[in-house]
């Protein structure tokens, strides 16, 4: 059954991709197609990265209501980005190749995420504490981010300010090549970790009993999540509830938490919503820039529903 549903999701994804590329083709077709293809690659990466990072993060935390962005990882990325500009701006950092800067930002996020989250993940926190910690992290790093922004002179501030808001319409295509390599590598690793993820979802004691070295495994998974969060945040900016929406939907569609099924299902659901939604909004539902708002709206509702369902049981 789950396999049929994945096939349907795959078919919908392909349809979305074809529609995105071909609907309303006019003028210099070769040129327009190339533009669209570049944007498509970015959207695919963002959809898949957010979906997969959310699945892994929820499994590691044992909590289906938190996502990397709810735990403030995207704020942490933006903070790390700002901190690099702040620390190295005087050394000509801003003039460096954007892909090299991106690589630096990814490494900074990986280090910060491990340093902050590993102590929390040694044992499982209950949902309330986890959410609270996430809110605190989010506020803290957003504030630190704007503090640094104020300290930096206006020219350098402009370098990072552009990337602080999600916009599926304005994608950072200059980062695409490096981001693609990173995404593909992370996805391969995530797929290879699918059985380990199943065991991790049983919790630290059971997983340890089954031969998993908990802290090392969790650190590795956090590095993976950091890479994927960095990709999506760098390409389109922070997205609060998209991951939650995608994974909640995917889990209901395939009705299992086994990662061999859930990982592809979530990735495909992310593609359908992002690429399909972008096509719909671009051609029929007014401006494509509203897609982000609509996704966050439904994602926010999904968050509230999950919270209500959880607090009732």
């Amino acid at each position: 059954m789950a396999n049929n549903r994945i096939a349907i999701l795959a078919a919908l994804s392909v349809l979305s991709v074809i529609a995105f590329l071909t609907i309303g083709l006019r003028g210099n077709i070769g040129f327009v197609l190339e533009l669209r293809a570049i944007k498509l690659v970015a959207l695919l990466q963002v959809g898949v990265s957010i979906a997969v990072s959310t699945v892994i993060f929820q499994t590691v935390t044992g909590n289906r209501i938190v996502t990397p962005s709810i735990m403030g990882l995207d704020a942490l990325y933006l903070f790390g980005q700002m901190a690099l500009v702040f620390a190295l701006g005087g050394l000509g950092y801003s003039a460096l190749n954007p892909q090299i800067k991106f690589a630096g930002e990814v490494l900074v996020l990986m280090a910060l995420a491990c340093a902050l989250l590993l102590p929390m993940l040694r044992s499982r926190l209950d949902m309330g504490l986890m959410l609270l910690a996430g809110v605190v992290f989010g506020v803290l790093f957003r504030s630190l981010h704007s503090l640094l922004a104020r300290l930096i002179d206006p020219n350098e501030f402009a370098v990072v300010q552009g990337a602080s808001f999600a916009n599926f319409n304005a994608v950072r295509t200059d980062l695409l090549a490096f981001a693609s390599v990173l995404t593909v590598a992370a996805l391969i690793l995530a797929w290879r970790a699918r059985h380990v993820l199943d065991v991790v979802s049983l919790g630290s004691d059971t997983a340890t009993g089954l031969g998993i070295t908990w802290s090392r495994t969790v650190a590795g998974l956090l590095v993976l999540v950091s890479a994927l969060v960095a990709v999506s945040t760098a390409l389109v900016g922070p997205v609060a509830f998209f991951g939650l929406l995608v994974v909640a939907l995917a889990e209901r569609i395939v009705n299992t938490r086994r990662h061999a099924v859930l990982l592809p299902a979530a990735a495909l659901t992310g593609i359908v919503i992002l690429v399909g939604g972008q096509t719909l909004f671009q051609h029929w539902l007014g401006s494509s820039s509203t897609l982000g708002v609509v996704i966050e709206f439904f994602g926010g509702i999904a968050f509230l529903l999950l919270l209500l369902m959880r607090s009732r049981t």
Binding site: V199, L202, D205, G211
Partner: protein, 252 residues
């Protein structure tokens, strides 16, 4: 053989285990008994490397638990925790199948499948195999967790109060299964029990703990006596003899 040497444990400044030394030879059923808070679960979780060793040494079959790779140990000893919760939405067959993870890293082969079906049968779970674990009763879930530990196919089974939630039928059934694997397959079972009569009937040896220390240790006939039990549990209970076996009337 499980060798525990001079093991102490404390949480913050509170001492929990005091210099425990205990050797459990290979094969047979050893019951760990004692009042709540005696440190039975703490000791078992140290043996099963679920928490780091602070002082002393523990080894299983000569392998020190703090330096041997987790993967190797998972093929030697299986642990069932007292308060296992199944966080994930899983079917019973999937849960039991996780017991094979140390051997196959998640890729089930025919042997694994056969072992899983055998464990499901042994614990009367065949009818429940397709059910989600979170829809089971406490006792059914407990049986699924025990089946998972069995499935791991290890020489050592460390079970912390596995009779929790089990009715009389399944409690007896589990004890008989444990006796059987100990006798026929040479497995070593260390089991925390509250029912002293279960310990008397099925264990080869009873180790009594209290206040973080081992205070008595011996065969059931030596342990199930009024003075020893009063020392351990703090009240006098009658011990009757039925068919030559001691039966503790602890409820009177």
């Amino acid at each position: 053989m499980i060798r525990i040497e001079n093991v102490s444990l404390s949480h913050q400044a509170t001492p929990i285990l005091h210099n425990i030394s205990l050797t459990i030879p290979k094969g047979g059923v050893t019951a760990l008994v004692g009042p709540n808070g005696a440190g039975k679960s703490s000791l078992l979780s140290l043996v099963a490397r679920l928490q780091p060793l602070q002082t002393g040494a523990i080894s299983i079959d000569g392998l020190p638990v703090d330096t041997t790779s987790n993967r190797t140990l998972a093929k030697i000893a299986a642990i069932l925790r007292q308060d296992s919760v199944v966080a994930s939405r899983l079917r019973v067959r999937e849960l039991v199948g996780f017991g094979r993870f140390p051997h196959n890293r998640g890729r089930l082969n025919e042997t694994d499948r056969a072992i899983i079906e055998q464990s499901l049968d042994q614990f009367d779970l065949a009818d429940l195999a397709g059910r989600f674990v979170d829809t089971l009763s406490g006792g059914q879930r407990q049986r699924a967790l025990v089946a998972m530990a069995f499935c791991q196919g290890t020489d050592y089974l460390l079970l912390d109060e596995p009779l929790n939630n089990l009715d009389m039928y399944y409690a007896r059934d589990l004890m008989r299964s444990l006796r059987q694997v100990a006798d026929e397959n040479g497995k070593t079972v260390v089991i925390v029990l509250h029912d002293i009569n279960m310990a008397g009937a099925y264990a080869d040896r009873i180790v009594a703990m209290k206040g973080g220390r081992v205070i008595a240790d011996g065969a059931p006939t030596e342990m199930l006596t009024t003075p020893v039990l009063q020392d351990v549990f703090g009240f006098a209970m009658q011990v009757a003899t039925i068919n030559g076996k001691p039966i503790v009337l602890h409820h009177l």
